[in-house]
């Protein structure tokens, strides 16, 4: 009888363990699928660029206003450019700008949050006021003004402009995390272990909010991409290149919607949606890991 009991017990424990790992994988499933989708999008664009021989930027390289065919998979636009090539190239460029802006913005937010939040005092006061100002300013309007004023917008400039407004929200949220983390016993004890502030931030604070950081990063990149698309659709994007937003700009300029040229304006919209969706999945997965309550515990 005792053997049966312990055998049952072992089975129960195994079942519990499997259930537990499934929960963590569920979080990871979000991350996994998000990343997969993003990777697929990039691979698709890269492959597309490789296969399709047409130039996405050069005007008049192909006949205008052709509907989709076996030669031009998505047809051509009113400026004589292959739309499928534009889609692939545009996806890569959009992602480039979005991630660049996202990384810059995130790094700024990181520094503001940690140096302000950890040290407190006057520095923190100034940084907080700065953050609040950037948060409450109507971003798009300012971006439009800046973009309209700056003469030549290339990709790096565009990324910087967008980053300038993308950092505020994550800075504020991360600072809140830092403030609450700072009061934990083990942080005080690391001070008593002789560690200096930088070591404490790197060794004890960042590892403990890593899932949050990843989640915020995804949010920043999404926000950056939204600003980017917004500016480009209004014609304020970088010149002489193609991004998904710029595709939409040209589509609007040539009344693609009224003319029912669905193969022009719909694919970039779908692509943008897929990109945002993949970022969302990734971010949601990190949220689930960071916050056990969402795990259903």
């Amino acid at each position: 009888m005792i053997n049966k009991n312990s055998h049952l017990k072992r089975l129960l424990v195994k079942a519990a363990l499997i259930k537990n790992t499934l929960l963590v994988v569920k979080g990871n499933l979000y991350i996994f699928s998000g990343l997969c989708l993003l990777v697929c999008i990039i691979l698709f664009a890269v492959l597309g660029m490789y296969i399709i021989p047409f130039d996405p930027v050069k005007i008049g390289s192909v006949p205008m206003d052709l509907p989709p065919s076996s030669k031009h998979l998505l047809g051509t636009d009113s400026l004589g450019r292959d739309l499928f090539a534009q889609l692939c190239f545009g996806t890569l460029t959009s992602l480039q700008i979005g991630f660049l802006a996202g990384i810059i913005g995130f790094l700024i937010a990181l520094m503001v949050a940690f140096f302000g939040g950890y040290h407190g005092g006057k520095l923190d006061g100034i940084l907080t006021i700065l953050t609040e100002v950037f948060l409450t300013t109507p971003t798009l309007i300012i971006l439009i003004i800046i973009a309209a004023v700056v003469e030549r917008i290339e990709i790096p400039t565009m990324a910087l402009i967008i980053a300038a407004f993308a950092w505020a929200w994550p800075a504020k949220t991360m600072r809140a995390q830092v403030l609450s983390l700072k009061e934990k016993g083990f942080i005080y004890l690391s001070r008593l272990s002789g560690l200096n502030s930088l070591e404490i931030i790197m060794k004890h604070m960042i590892p403990n909010i890593l899932p949050f950081l990843g989640s915020y990063f995804a949010v920043v990149v999404s926000a950056a991409m939204i600003s980017e698309v917004g500016l480009e659709v209004l014609g304020l994007g970088p010149r002489h290149t193609i991004t998904l937003g710029i595709m939409l700009y040209w589509a609007m300029m040539h009344a693609a919607v009224t003319r029912n040229l669905i193969w022009w304006w719909l694919p970039p919209c779908i692509m943008l949606f897929l990109i945002f969706f993949s970022l969302f999945l990734f971010q949601r997965g990190l949220d689930v890991i960071a916050n056990p309550r969402l795990r259903g515990e």
Binding site: F186, Y188, H204, N208
Partner: protein, 327 residues
């Protein structure tokens, strides 16, 4: 006799409120005490919430700076120390906090947490030496070696507190500031932690500043006691003397109100205490600094108690009271 720790007229005032309306709270008011050198002592720092005892702990640990007054470690002002002296001070004064669940970094195994101060203070010469030291210390606090490989969420609250105590032993600290180390632990499990602290005091030469609101637990460990009320020390001295013969009206009430686990000796009469002007919440106390902090609740308060700060009177060799009744 010289002291290892000395607080001289230490005051800490916090300014609360935003940019416009400031409210000042006197958390610690003119507190002085010391820990003698040579003989490892346990001082119980007793008081209710709002008494300032936690703030004193943080001042001693160097986490906050006093508004006025000085703190000396080995006869040196800690805010005038050189870098190397400050590092030594940090190593020698360690802490155990109330909440064991927030005291260990959840991302690191126990062994990594213990290695950290060893590495930083350059105590061991090699990794193998560190491992040996850690292993011996873990045994000394009554834990098994398996615990070194575990993560904090896999061990109990009591075991966590032991690990924190072992940390102090490991780096050869001289003083441990223990802020309510057992209040979040069940009664039946407290004994082992308290006994460990007593053991560390007697056999390993560590002094303790044991901060608590529960005098009964302090009884097991403490040699001397300091009772605080709203930031001031009201009575201090040898634990036995103060507890068996309390003089200050507040201390008398506290000791009398401790429930005894003996149904045959119950409280006979209702306690003699007036309801003060706001219970124990220190409001804008700058206004009320020049009087005994207990005067609004004291059943034996005289007129002078409302007008001047009471002096410190030595009743006995190691028994001091701050009260006009004995002036």
């Amino acid at each position: 006799m010289s002291e290892i720790l000395k607080l001289n007229n230490v005051t800490k005032i916090f300014s609360l409120g935003g940019l416009l309306k400031k409210r000042r709270v006197i958390a610690v008011d003119n507190v002085s005490f010391s820990i003698p050198k040579g003989k490892p002592t346990t001082i119980a720092l007793v008081g209710e919430s709002g008494s300032g005892k936690t703030t004193v702990g943080r001042l001693v640990l160097g986490f906050i700076k006093p508004t006025s007054g000085k703190i000396f470690w080995e006869n040196k002002d800690i805010y005038k120390m050189k870098r190397s002296e400050w590092k030594l001070y940090r190593r020698n004064v360690q802490a155990v906090f109330q909440d064991p669940y927030e005291s260990l970094d959840p991302r690191y195994k126990v062994i990594d947490t213990l290695m950290e101060p060893l590495k930083k203070f350059k105590i061991a010469n090699s990794r193998s030496e560190s491992l040996k030291m850690i292993s011996e210390t873990i045994e000394a606090v009554g834990l098994r070696h398996e615990i070194l490989d575990k993560y904090p969420h896999q061990i109990s609250g009591g075991e966590k507190q032991r690990i924190l105590l072992s940390r102090a032993l490991l780096i050869n600290a001289k003083l441990v500031v223990a802020d309510e180390p057992v209040s979040m632990i069940d009664a039946s499990l407290r004994a082992s932690i308290l006994n460990l602290m007593k053991d560390m005091n007697k056999n390993f030469g560590l002094s303790f500043l044991y901060i608590t609101h529960d005098i009964s637990t302090a009884y097991i460990l403490a040699d001397s006691i300091i009772v605080m009320y709203l930031g001031s020390i009201v009575e201090s001295g040898s634990f036995e003397k103060v507890v068996s013969n309390p003089r200050h009206p507040y201390v008398k009430v506290i000791i009398d109100s401790i429930p005894l686990p003996d149904p045959k000796r119950r409280w006979k009469s209702a306690i003699k205490l007036r309801e003060g002007e706001g219970g124990l919440t220190p409001k804008d106390m700058m206004k009320f600094r020049l009087r005994c902090k207990f005067c609004d609740r004291c059943a034996e308060a005289k007129e002078v108690c409302w007008e001047k700060t009471p002096p410190i009177i030595e009743i006995d060799k190691d028994h001091k009271v701050s009260c006009f009744l004995y002036a």
